[in-house]
Symmetry: C2
Subunit: 397 residues, 2 copies
Amino acid sequence: MPENQSFRQDYPQLDPPVRTLMGPGPSDIHPRVLQAMAAPTIGHLDPAFIQMMDQIQGLLQQLFQTKNALTFPVSGTGSAGMECCMVNVIEPGDRVVIAQNGVFGGRMADIADRLGADVVKIQVPFGQKFEPEAIREAVAGKPTKLVGVVHAETSTGVCQSLPEIAEIAHEVDALLLADCVTSLGGTPVKLDEWGVDLAYSGTQKCLSCPPGLAPVSFSERAVQALKNRKSKVVSWYLDVSMLLNYWGGERAYHHTAPINMLYGLREALLIVLEEGLDAVFARHQHHGEMLVAGVEAMGLSMLVPADYRLPQLNTVVIPDGVDDAAVRRALLNDYNIEIGGGLGDLKGKVWRVGLMGHASRRENVVTFLAALESILVQQGAAIQPGAGLAAAAKVGA
Amino acid sequence: MPENQSFRQDYPQLDPPVRTLMGPGPSDIHPRVLQAMAAPTIGHLDPAFIQMMDQIQGLLQQLFQTKNALTFPVSGTGSAGMECCMVNVIEPGDRVVIAQNGVFGGRMADIADRLGADVVKIQVPFGQKFEPEAIREAVAGKPTKLVGVVHAETSTGVCQSLPEIAEIAHEVDALLLADCVTSLGGTPVKLDEWGVDLAYSGTQKCLSCPPGLAPVSFSERAVQALKNRKSKVVSWYLDVSMLLNYWGGERAYHHTAPINMLYGLREALLIVLEEGLDAVFARHQHHGEMLVAGVEAMGLSMLVPADYRLPQLNTVVIPDGVDDAAVRRALLNDYNIEIGGGLGDLKGKVWRVGLMGHASRRENVVTFLAALESILVQQGAAIQPGAGLAAAAKVGA
């Protein structure tokens, strides 16, 4: 059949390098997920697929710890989930309070602005968290439609406590939107107990699944806000009232769902729940602690204080005189380890070391510590050779 | 490790049925594409991935037959591609002419309406095509920003000729937008020669790749329209000026690209170009003709006249007295063949039989004809047993 093989000279066989993905995502993919994604494609209205959709929704509810009926994966990456949550409830002129302590809070504010909202952005420096009082002040006085907060800031590694903020938002009849991209499946996310109205996540962080889907969940209050809209949702693709006809009871065609990505997500969710949520969270916590013990013993320091630090996304302060890009390049080229650089205000100031999902493994912690030590020694940095691995080992098996 | 296996009782091992996908998409996936998708995930800023992005853009330009620099896959399904093209050039108040002869033209009009455009919808019945004069009348008199046309109507099987419409649009300084979801890789798409300014497609039709990406292409005129905008693009996720920083020279992070889907798309594009575009189009044409000869000899009729019928999407009129749903159910359950039902105005009136990409194979044509004949005979329909396969065979090998 092939008549035109000659042009293949410029396009070798697909053979991506095998990396250990310890950046801010994508993280290491579980082999079972890749295997699931290669299963035969079926139609998006096939009875066998409809059954799988029910399962995925039920599994996502367990991960989000919610009874929200409107819980499903958006056909796009995490940022499509963010946009989906916002575009469905925000109308032009709505007052929206966004708490920004990193890049992703800034993205929320940008989206709200594009939707014509009256955006009130409150800020603390990258790497800090918000005190509930700051939110209380921001929503005081004027009717506010939505409060947007990042539960797990992928750009800084900060975990923001949500229950107090939910209470404040609800007191003034505002909805609480939370970015759970990096938290879902890594640290507890309890939408119902905490009172989160809109949440979104991504598949490529603690779910150990390739990027391409954005799980979202809408509370009854959020659904009510959607029903009370005066204007049409400006995005057809992300209009939840239409998506609901497909993911809800009717199974009416909206757009063609990304079938094989959904095979992968189903497998990824099963892997998390087989291990059990508590065990998963404990594993992330434990390996995060090992990593921190190691880098601190080496003589480096963490950006975020321990009490609100995410164990799955560790921001390590780059020591003075160390060449950021050279270190990351050496990790990638000599050890096949990907970590992330700093984003926004933290560009050039921190490394972002992810221990998410399947990447949160003991072997990854020690390999990273060993590789980083070697590279820093080569760069002539003032570190304590051997101290990192010894300290990590003491955190226990 | 697994502590919680018991819950797996409700979730059996993923084992989707092996279907022959002869509906309106997803179509049969080429095995090499599924294999590529299971390759190890790498980061979206990994040098090895950046190199692959260049390749994918070059391959897409070959398929779209364009030199447009802004040619890349949107991280969403075909409808996200439609929305991406429209949201980037349409501003509130812009006059937009949409030619609707099926469901997807209707979707274009819906999106334009949500964007605040002054939408002029011209219509012909489902299954018919537009004469250029109808477009000329619609754009006459008032300044028009964009003309939207469906090149290959997935809901009807109509192929709309574009060069004359492009000329008319350009005479009045309007952009031409074309839906190429079902045409790309199945019938010729010549953006530059025809003068199409904005085009979008999907991976799950003639590219033999699972759904999840939407190739798009913007001409220089379209890019100019983008640059001349007075307002921000209302969608952050689909804002091409930002996506361009990632897919263009800078490779600046925008959102996390769906890595493994892009592995699949790369492989899918290589498969098409290995065969060669002319050979691919001839194969689609040939198998479409076989199918039509078969169904017509059986005593059934086609909705769309031969001169503007798509060979990859065949709308067969359901004979009086035949139970639409029962026939499709029997094809699926007894033969593992998926075809599509009618959409919109054609609901219950036609079957949509796809012969797209890897599904456009001789064995699929004869299996479908044989299965359909058996089912119709069982239903007591007045058809000519044996005539279908005989007529198809005469179309030649």
